[in-house]
């Protein structure tokens, strides 16, 4: 037997992040007790190096690590998005960690490890490595959600996240096992080929497996009825981690969903499309109605994240074709908006407290004009008002649904967007129309967080005014999936 020829270059970005994470971990181990290792500069350097590696990989035309870990246009697109999310989260973190008293090097290690998992999730063309990537991401996030060891809320969030996460991983794994039994392979392409000519027994196994996969992914992207963990976890976790979950995990999970359903299960589209459409409808409705009832801003954004999973699923129904590129484009817009929204709350944190209610942000425009303006931009984009990334993104999502013959999905999506205006704009009204209550209790916006928030706002506006470059790239990425 000859040694396998393996091209390791595609794994370089993920390796850089993993090694950086390990370096931060060891730096923390060799730092005297009670002090924090300089995790943020390390992580920023690692993330920038990984971004350069992604650029070089793109210039080289991607690569293929033994058929399991593939860097094509699709995963390059997600690489850039996920590393970008990582950069913003790391920029937001130092001031938040100091304000809440959890400034430890391990935080950055876990963030970097979870990013490694996300990179794997969007690049794996094989079910074993896909599952391993998913767990690398999830296990790091379980620990991150519970990082605030003195706050019962944080521990409760971690426990709930772990139980639902492990539950969904179990479903996903069982589904993978059934697909393996039906097709005799774990490679997505081979599974897809085998399912095109199924026997009666394998068809039953494959349909069951697909259903279980859908439940597993449903949990990960927080779609109704598998969403009940999201509000609690988003509220209890440290806010910068909530930002990472809502932007990064959702992007990576949708990336894996598109790849698995697009490459391995197109033959079963007739059976999973109606199910995904049903999920999309209930997710849009329940997510938006749930958000209406919230007074806590973090919970409101959590329900909004559930609702957005619904909009995205509406376009997944229309995949492959125009649906995939719409989802890819919207994930960028959505990531920028959520990083900004949760980031703005995190940037104001002082002495373990952060603004959580409408009263807390009342009159913010007079005290923190720049931050209030940025937050207003994010909320307007979440609503989907023109000249914001959210409008362009939703337009493409719903157009994809209409073109694929699912007009009813688009109609429900538009109606629900109108409903959502009420709870998003309520915050804007509180910031601009109301007088501030009491003393100014919030921190001045730290420079690095300001940079991160400005970056997110710039992306939101740029995508709203001039979406073509990203759209072209998304189209290229979508094509590489076929």
């Amino acid at each position: 037997m000859t040694p396998p020829v393996v091209d390791v270059l595609p794994a370089i970005p993920a390796l850089i992040l993993a090694v950086t994470g390990l370096a931060v971990l060891l730096a923390q181990a060799f730092t005297p007790r009670g002090q924090a290792a300089p995790g943020a500069p390390f992580s920023l350097a690692g993330l920038l190096a990984a971004l350069v590696a992604v650029y070089l990989l793109a210039a080289r035309g991607g690569g293929d690590l033994g058929g399991t870990y593939v860097v094509d246009a699709f995963s390059l697109y997600f690489h850039a998005l996920i590393i970008g999310v990582g950069l913003v989260v790391v920029l937001l973190s130092p001031s938040y960690l100091r304000a809440t008293g959890i400034d430890r090097g391990e935080y950055y290690t876990l963030v970097l490890f979870s990013l490694v998992g996300m990179l794997g999730l969007v690049s794996c063309r094989e079910l074993v490595s896909l599952f391993v990537s998913l767990e690398v991401m999830s296990v790091a996030l379980y620990a991150l959600a519970g990082l605030h060891r003195a706050r019962p809320e944080s521990q409760e969030a971690a426990l709930k996240y772990f139980i639902t996460g492990a539950f969904s991983s179990g479903f996903l794994l069982y589904g993978i096992a059934l697909l393996y039994g039906a097709s005799g392979s774990t490679s997505l392409v081979a599974v897809g080929a085998a399912l095109r000519t199924p026997g009666p027994a394998t068809a039953a196994l494959a349909t069951m497996g697909t259903g279980l996969l859908l439940v597993g992914f449903g949990f990960k992207v927080a779609s109704v009825p598998f969403h009940m963990w999201a509000p609690d976890v988003y509220e209890g976790a440290p806010t910068t981690i909530t930002a990472l979950m809502s932007a990064g995990v959702k992007a990576a999970a949708f990336g894996a969903l598109l790849r698995v359903f697009g490459q391995a299960l197109p033959a079963l589209a007739a059976s999973w499309q109606p199910a995904v459409a049903a999920l999309a409808v209930v997710t849009m409705v329940v997510g938006n109605l749930g958000a209406l009832a919230q007074s806590n801003l973090k919970r409101m954004l959590a329900y909004s994240s559930v609702a957005h999973a619904g909009y995205l699923l509406a376009a997944v129904v229309a995949a492959p074709g125009i649906g995939v590129e719409a989802v890819l484009f919207y994930l960028v817009a959505y990531a920028a908006v959520n990083l900004g929204g949760f980031g703005a709350l995190a940037a104001l944190a002082r002495q373990g407290r952060e603004p959580l209610s409408l009263d807390d942000v009342a009159g913010l425009a007079s005290r923190r004009p720049a931050l209030a303006a940025a937050l207003a931009v994010y909320l307007i984009s979440l609503t989907g008002v023109p000249v914001s990334a959210g409008f362009v993104g939703k337009f493409f999502l719903f157009r994809a649904a209409v073109n694929a013959g699912w007009t009813s999905l688009a109609v429900i999506g538009v109606l629900m967007s109108v409903v959502s205006a009420y709870y998003y704009l309520r915050v804007v009204v509180a910031m601009y129309m109301r007088e501030p209550l009491g003393e100014d209790a919030w921190a001045p916006v730290p420079p690095s967080a300001g940079l991160a928030l400005g970056l997110s706002a710039a992306v939101v506006l740029a995508l709203g005014v001039h979406p073509e470059p990203v759209l072209t790239w998304a189209r290229l990425a979508a094509r590489s999936l076929l």
Binding site: F131, E156, A158, A166, F167, L173, A177, G184, S185, A293
Partner: protein, 100 residues
């Protein structure tokens, strides 16, 4: 012993795991339920590999799953312990600060 026998046992284990997860109050019992689910999938993978597909991918997958399950439980126990230190209870239904 045929493939069907293994699949039936695996399905039973999976059902027991889900049942344990949904009905148990004690966090440690819930962790056991999760282990049952993961191992039922493992049994499936190995059985398919031995009787169905004729390749070793399934058995290889099972080794990975065992390792991942160990990592998951390590993190989960740490979370349960910190929660126990704060609240003095291992019961899940008493973890109810976050709701609405």
């Amino acid at each position: 012993m045929t493939l069907q026998h293994y699949l039936l046992v695996s399905a039973a284990l999976f059902a027991l795991g889900v049942l344990g997860l949904l009905t148990r109050r004690n966090a440690v019992n819930v962790l056991m339920g999760i282990e049952l689910i993961l191992n039922s999938a493992n049994l499936n993978l190995v059985a398919f590999s031995r009787y169905g597909t004729g390749n070793l991918e399934g058995q290889l997958f099972a080794v990975f799953v065992v390792v991942i399950a160990a990592a998951e439980v390590a993190v989960a126990l740490a979370i349960v312990l910190t929660l126990y230190r704060l609240r003095r209870t291992p019961n899940l239904d008493e973890a109810d600060i976050l709701k609405g």
